[in-house]
């Protein structure tokens, strides 16, 4: 009777020993002792493969009386052994199985229901373009529907101003406006400083220091003031609107509003839009002021201009039309920021991931639309002005 002993010493204290006894010309007894666990099974697998290639058994008897511990991986090892025996039509039996082994074997089905996984299908370019187009048009339809709802809601609020939740309007004015003053002021001041400094490097060569004032003034009032303010408000408040409404959807608060008969668009969006429309133009004026102040600092300290000269040049270069057109732009930007923020919030879905995606989308879409609107205004004002 031949005897082959194989010892496995995996890392850690757990170890298993595996021994094959040839009790008759065909029958093999596989004896296991120690711990057959997730830490020791890996080392046994090559031995098992070797056993199947070198031996040609007529029957398998598995002696497990020496096993102290068997976990799921160990049970799967035995199931594998059973499966291979069944495939070769060999009689298979256990000897010395304890309640512990039977328990864990009971948890691991003999033939795991492994469904054939269909190979992952990679959509082609045409399909991707098609899907993207459909998604774009769906989004367009949703946004159009929302604009319609919002227009109706604002119209009904104009007819009945008492139905507007003015307390909420004040709350959002504080959040979007007052709380945004420091960052809008700081960014505009720095913008004015940078513009004045960079342009002065060039203009000084031609003795045109004085034009720094008009350059900063025109750039801030006509373009950068409204746009930077709108981008900052989109980042601060547009994202907050989307996250707030998205979270309300997750917490069923929007459903609760509907069941109480409130139209969510009117209830949640109108105060935010009104607040933004009131606050963003004021913030824009504030940003213009700080931008000019930034240029003034450079003009006075670096270009030997007096405060009076700098301000006189600035005022001469900016007309009333410029200020009003800047306010008109910021008004439209305000509607875009609040509208897109709320619309993305309403389409957030019912998961945390959806809320995150809607927040990102609110900022990206708002900035994109702000720039598109700004381009349209540039053309419009060119012809009007």
């Amino acid at each position: 009777m031949g005897k082959t002993a194989m010892e496995e010493r995996p890392p850690g204290r757990e170890e298993v020993s595996f021994q094959v006894d040839r009790v008759s010309p065909g029958e093999r007894v596989l004896s296991f002792s120690g711990s057959l666990t997730v830490h020791t099974v890996g080392g046994l697998l090559p031995r098992l493969r070797e056993f199947w290639t070198t031996e040609n058994p007529a029957g398998i008897l598995v002696d497990v009386s020496g096993l102290r511990k068997v976990d799921t991986a160990g049970a799967l090892f035995f199931r594998e052994l059973e499966g291979e025996s069944r495939k070769r039509s060999l009689p298979f039996a256990y000897r010395g199985a304890s309640g512990l082994l039977e328990g864990i074997l009971g948890m691991v089905p003999p033939e795991p229901d492994v469904l054939p996984v269909p190979p992952a299908r990679h959509p082609g370019l045409v399909e991707e373009i098609g899907k993207g187009t459909v998604a774009f048009f769906r989004d367009f339809v949703r946004v159009t529907g929302f604009v319609g709802d919002l227009t109706l809601a604002i119209g009904s609020c104009l007819v009945r101003p008492g139905s507007v939740r003015w307390g909420d309007v004040l709350h959002y004015m504080r959040r979007a406006g007052v709380d945004g003053l420091p960052i809008v002021g700081l960014i505009s001041l720095l913008l004015g400083l940078i513009m004045a400094f960079m342009s002065s490097l060039q203009l000084r060569q031609f003795g045109a220091n004085l034009y720094v004032a008009s350059l900063v003034g025109i750039a801030m009032v006509k373009e950068l003031g409204p746009m930077m303010t709108a981008i900052l408000v989109a980042g601060r408040s547009g994202s907050a609107y989307a996250a707030e409404i998205g979270t309300m959807i997750v917490h069923e608060e929007v459903d609760a509003l509907r069941t109480m008969g409130f139209e969510p668009v009117r209830f949640l969006t109108v105060p935010k839009v009104i607040a933004a429309v009131l606050v963003v133009p004021l913030l824009t004026l504030y940003a213009d002021f700080f931008g000019v102040a930034g240029g003034l600092v450079v003009g006075v300290t670096g270009l030997d201009l007096t405060v009076h000269t700098y301000l006189r040049e600035t005022m001469a270069s900016i007309g009333l039309f410029d200020v009003f057109s800047s306010l008109a732009k910021s008004l439209v930007f305000a509607v875009i920021i609040a509208g897109i923020g709320c619309q993305r919030g309403f389409q957030a879905g019912r998961s945390a991931e959806g809320v995150g995606a809607s927040t990102t989308s609110a900022v990206v879409a708002a900035i994109f639309l702000i720039i598109v609107a700004d381009s349209a205004f540039a053309i419009l004002f060119h012809y009007i002005g």
Partner: protein, 266 residues
């Protein structure tokens, strides 16, 4: 459940007829029909994913069914216009699973919301009603607290106060006992029973909390994912005692499918 027996002959306030719900190609349930009589506590039970909450949302008009109709107080909810829906909604209250209180408002403001929308009560009267409603759910004096300052059980009770702000004829509950400890669940049960006897509202709840169903419900329907519809309907205590269908017995006895039939029912 003496009250339930008394109510047995009363007219239906809610009729669900041949309602089918599907998401894409996936049919959740089809041709579901039942009636809820005035004043009874009616529960929709069933395993997770069988469509209980979807059915509730169809009943309260938040979702449109693929086919079928829902009649509430004689009005077709599934085909109602905006003005009709407004009338229906003023006569019903909904307690959502999480309470769904508005986080930016105090408890008082939450409860006052439907009163401001649907009544012309002067402000001091609204405050009085709000205080009374919060006292009814044992939250008296907490009008100025925000929902985030309350425990889950208190939020549910505040949600209940808001749902019954207008003393609606029909109250809907979506999983009212989920996430509550046994004592808080029992307190909520007592509260629901007290409100039913005080206000006389019809109560329709979606729940799979068996102890509470047996304690509260006059009648239940059991939805089943496999059957794509109603498996059984009746008094839950009688259903538990007389269940013939294995699936009904397993659900009401909380038995797992592997258990032998003789173990079910012990």
């Amino acid at each position: 459940m003496a009250e339930g027996k008394e109510n047995a002959g009363r007219e239906p306030v809610l009729i669900v007829k041949d309602v089918t719900a599907r998401f894409g190609d996936n049919v959740l349930f089809e041709k579901v029909g039942f009636q809820v009589r005035r004043g009874e506590i009616f529960a929709i039970a069933g395993e997770s994913g069988c469509g209980k909450s979807t059915l509730l949302k169809i009943m309260i008009g938040l979702l449109k069914p693929a086919s079928g109709t829902v009649w509430m107080e004689g009005v077709n909810v599934t085909g109602a216009g905006e003005e009709q829906m407004r009338r229906i909604r003023s006569g019903m209250g909904v307690l959502f699973q999480s309470g769904a209180l508005f986080g930016s408002m105090t408890l008082g403001e939450n409860v006052a919301l439907p009163l401001r929308e649907y009544t012309d009560l002067p402000a001091p009267w609204i405050d009085r009603v709000v205080r009374a409603k919060l006292a009814m759910v044992n939250l008296g004096g907490l009008e100025d607290r925000y929902p985030a300052e309350l425990s889950g059980g208190m939020q549910k009770r505040a949600g209940l106060a808001r749902a019954m702000a207008l003393d609606p004829g029909i109250l809907f509950f979506d999983e009212p006992f989920s996430g509550l400890d046994p004592v808080t669940s029992a307190e909520l049960e007592v509260l629901i029973r007290r409100i039913r006897s005080a206000v006389g509202s019809t109560m329709i709840m979606v729940s799979h909390d068996l102890p509470s169903l047996f304690n509260l419900a006059d009648r239940i329907i059991l939805l089943d994912r496999g059957a794509r519809g109603i498996l059984a309907e009746g008094d839950p205590r009688e259903m538990k005692r007389d269940a013939v269908d294995g699936r009904v017995a397993r659900f009401l006895h909380r038995a797992v499918p592997d258990e032998k039939p003789e173990e079910v029912g012990k």
